[in-house]
Symmetry: D2
Subunit: 358 residues, 4 copies
């Protein structure tokens, strides 16, 4: 089965290409009687859109959405909710030169190998523009989660070697949106921005990590043994363009600890059970334990750069490539709402899945 749906009970199917008519999403399983909040969606899309600051691509996409179905008199009806965004400001001709060339570390070659055909304009379906559809669905998922007291907040925690050194518990995440790089630590944010501007000037790119925090989750979400909560979160994040790594809680850093240091001791206050530490990242045995859930995502440096590169063409002949399409020197600031959206889609789906046990 093809892979354009995500979730079981809050199930989204996305469609669309970067330079086609537009992008869209169908949500099957959205609970009825939810107030449909278009502004909420537009606000999230604005966080994702290109051209929002000096350190993103210059491509402009002032999104407007069209709701095709599933809403009646301002409320969801329980029937499929379909929303589309039409593409604008396309410069498909920018991509004519790429028609017969496989750009390094892009999906050009693999799409052609898989499908025997490829929409080369702006990477077609492989473009990160596909995430518009995820952000729309994620905005609705977040709204639902908020009504359960669950909040999701991501921020940029590392750009290349520049890293937020404090744990998230010592950061004021309300500052995240205050700067262009979406890092709540102001001093670090400044360094990150400088580096990204330098990359932009060089026509190069740079990667980093996002950290995502989920608060207010009740104990009990996650479906062992395969659909564990962090396994679903991991899949969701790794499905985002350029994401090459995921860890939860202490993750890759926790491996140097001893079990006696790493174990999260349970304590009880007024019969409420919590843990003293949270190396588990809020998930034990694949199920939420009620503590904060936090995880990291590693994003590789953007493959589209302005420097000349060697590559091959569709005739398997070597050639060189001068990228002319507009691009981001660092994908991380714009990935923040995408990570949040995918996290929200996992959480609402798991929340609905857990309803069956009640």
């Amino acid at each position: 089965m093809a892979g354009n749906s995500f979730g079981e009970l809050f199930r989204i199917t996305t469609f669309g290409e970067s330079h086609g008519v537009g992008l869209g999403v169908v949500i099957d399983g959205c609970p009825p009687n939810l107030s449909f909040d278009e502004n909420n969606i537009l606000k999230e899309l604005a966080r994702r859109k290109p051209g929002q600051s000096a350190i993103t691509t210059d491509r402009k996409e002032d999104e407007s959405i069209e709701v095709l179905s599933g809403v009646f008199e301002g409320k969801t009806t329980g029937t499929p909710l379909a929303v589309i965004v039409r593409n604008k400001d396309q410069r498909s001709q920018d991509y004519d030169a790429l028609k017969d060339v496989y750009r390094p570390s892009h999906a050009d070659y693999t799409y052609e190998q898989k499908y025997g055909i490829r929409d080369h304009r702006g990477s077609g379906r492989a473009s990160a523009r596909e995430t518009v559809a995820r952000v729309i669905a994620g905005a609705i998922a977040k709204q639902l989660l908020n009504s359960y007291g669950i909040t999701i907040t991501a921020f940029v925690s590392q750009v290349a070697h520049i890293k937020v050194t404090k744990p998230y518990t010592e950061l004021d995440l309300s500052l995240t949106e205050n700067n262009a790089v979406r890092c709540p630590d102001e001093a670090t944010a400044l360094q990150m921005i400088q580096l990204i501007e330098q990359m932009k000037a060089e026509g190069d790119s740079v990667g980093g990590t996002l950290t995502c925090l989920i608060t207010g989750t009740p104990a009990g979400l996650g479906e062992p043994v395969f659909d564990k909560l962090h396994a679903e979160l991991g899949k969701a994040m790794l499905s985002i363009n350029a994401c090459k790594g995921f860890d939860i809680g202490s993750g890759f850093e926790g491996i140097t600890m001893k079990g006696s240091e790493h174990n999260d001791v349970f304590v009880s206050t007024n019969r409420k059970i919590t843990t003293l530490t949270n190396h588990s990242g809020g998930v034990q045995g694949g199920i939420s334990n009620g503590e904060d859930i936090y995880f990291r995502c590693a994003f590789k440096p953007v493959s589209t750069i302005s420097k000349t590169q060697q590559t091959v063409n569709t005739d398997a002949a070597e050639t060189s490539l001068n990228a002319t399409g507009r691009h981001d020197p660092c994908v991380l600031p714009r990935a923040v709402p995408i990570v949040e959206a995918m996290a929200a889609l996992v959480m609402i789906d798991q929340l609905l899945r857990n309803k069956v046990y009640s």
Copy 2:
């Protein structure tokens, strides 16, 4: 929907608990006319079994399997293949003291929160013994993959701070099984073993990373945009007990590179297209490109330790805990066949899914 199935076209459903009757797996979608190779399965189970060396738990499990269905005159028939392993050498009474206690960083608390009931004997369904079922299915998947020229090999690449520093391309992976820790770098293996023995003596535990290599994959496997090859691999790995992180290719380390350094340049030799470097880890745009696939998994230190720990009981009262169950001081050597099995399950499923396009 509950989460005990994995895969779409080569779909496994596992069942069983650590101290119940046994463990089992049903494979629905196993291609017909495959020679059923019981020895192949037993060989993989032996790699997973406890008590296999001085650095694993002392619990003995000499597995024998019973095939319940799906095989006729030595061949698979295309109907569901069901295999079970009965539990032996159970000391359920070891766990009586744990009945009313939530062990730190185990799944005791979360299972009880989710289901309102919990089989406390040996962690029940949350026990790593569940992976017996995965290894059985994985052995069959590997056999199928081998017939397509695809091989899967995992090894221990880090234990606590002790790390294999060479890239996998400079290692002789045929040496992996030569030592108890399953690390192909002999000198490093020795240090790892020493550390694990020390942990065992201390009654403590330690974590690390596994690296897994998949060779011979044709270009084209993976189903964007959600069921990308590395997203499915990530989910598979994160569903393994104690696995808290996953990255592919350059992963978390690649984020400090520039795009111009990180991009894998395509080259052509006799019209065959390959890449000069492989920071992508063999997957681009979520689809295999024909290069080696390699990824890492982070395993936390085992939660079961012999030291006294503070915790709470099912009455939310604080108590202390002396673990008496037998356990592994380091889960990584025994996780090698499990990681290989899960990787094999992803790869055969994606290979079958890709058949639809041909």
Copy 3:
């Protein structure tokens, strides 16, 4: 999980309401490199559209489609194919009087019970207009099936008590489209038309059966033990508005035969195995045997009538109802392309599912 998707490998998701923006379908898993044939789709939609003859509703819907994604330079790309049709000629005010009333044998009451909210305009999602989306997807499925030599043809075989008495093998199905009722037996067709006209004059409605024939199916399609070929066909048909019964082969009539009469004797001609009779309807053990597949669908009389009816309103008070919306006195002629579409969706899905075994 909500129920707006159908199929596993050729998977459609439909959305839209009768009096909303429009209807649409996303096909995930459509094979790449298929020539996209808009005229083929429009031709099928024209067979379904209201107002096409004197015996259908007077509501006009001259459909035009918009392809949102999945097609590049006239070919499918293997990515999701999304197509929408906008609603026109809506007279939503016709339905204002129905806002607070539950029409007998409609879905008004049940939708409100299930979702707690209901788009009352033209039955909303429960309208047979939803089948526009199925016909679009079915047209593409049929095109694919034709390339495998599989054809699908339905016709009206009974209206009320007026019945085609000859078996399908003695009919010339090329005559089906020659009359308004889509019955290939001319004399019977005339009687059916007269009856339907009479019903229209009376403001009443009438039901009947469709028979569907599938030729050219290779042996081997169908997935026991639950996704048997005829079980999937049955589900597909019963999911169509107003369909209340399904049988295959001898079906409900075969129950009066003895086994020795009913069994289809195998014969061999030039080593090709066929059956002398075909009471099985081309499916044995849930798998196609290479013979013609034929089945019947029972459609109840249309619930919308122009006569005054007693009913209750949303306050559970009794009231009377004068239907004023335009409607069909008999749904069967327009159901022909819908039945064909659903049959095509089952067959292409099973054909792709069977590829896994090759």
Copy 4:
């Protein structure tokens, strides 16, 4: 994907062959804390077992079950519930003569065409013995449904031309189990039994219909537009061996009525909304309306007969066949618990699916 699973949230996977080790079922999604009632299961199996009366096959199967997982201290734990039944009284040698022969109207030919291999012993996976697994799961589903006030009762309503003429509302269904044919109308039952005995004497077989009644269903179950309640029931029934037709409510008989006669008028008594008639069979728009659900299933005459038949062998050469395996002259009495089981599996799944909306 292969077809051996059924249901979404109460999901069963069955395995096993008629003359292999045994049959089994894994239930994933069984709610936790249900008292596991082995006797309840054995009672249902006894209703299905061969040799239970003079009008069934002489083959004896005194079933005993083994629970492999999912139950702890007498209660379900929410983890997969696996149950097996071992095969006994196998006379596999009875089938040696059938190894190279395709029996008319059996699945021999189609299984070999599909899978390229076939377990010929007792029809292998295609045997109706597979339904043992369904009856086990159905017994648990029924127990759950009973706790919601939902009951399921099937009975034989027609054997060949002998038919119960009264509507189910005028029958006393508590009499169903009083006679060997499971028909609650005593006089009709006697005629049916006589006919079946005659068929047994002749070495022939006969078909018929079952009627199934579901009471106590709340309004709101069913998932439009594809997973409508009656569409799922239809698929479930058609997946049972020898079932070739399904209709709900007035079904195939309702097609001769006018809309004004067929529509079920809503009435209100003390603000409770019901319908005066129930031609809809309790389902409108694919969703239950709170009335009785009733449907019919058509079963063809059993293919296994003792008369000599012409057929072909695996070399496509014509040959003749003397069936010697024991068989039922009429499958209907033993199909009663199977139909109830499949109905229960649909209903519990839809009930859990509907929980998501609450």
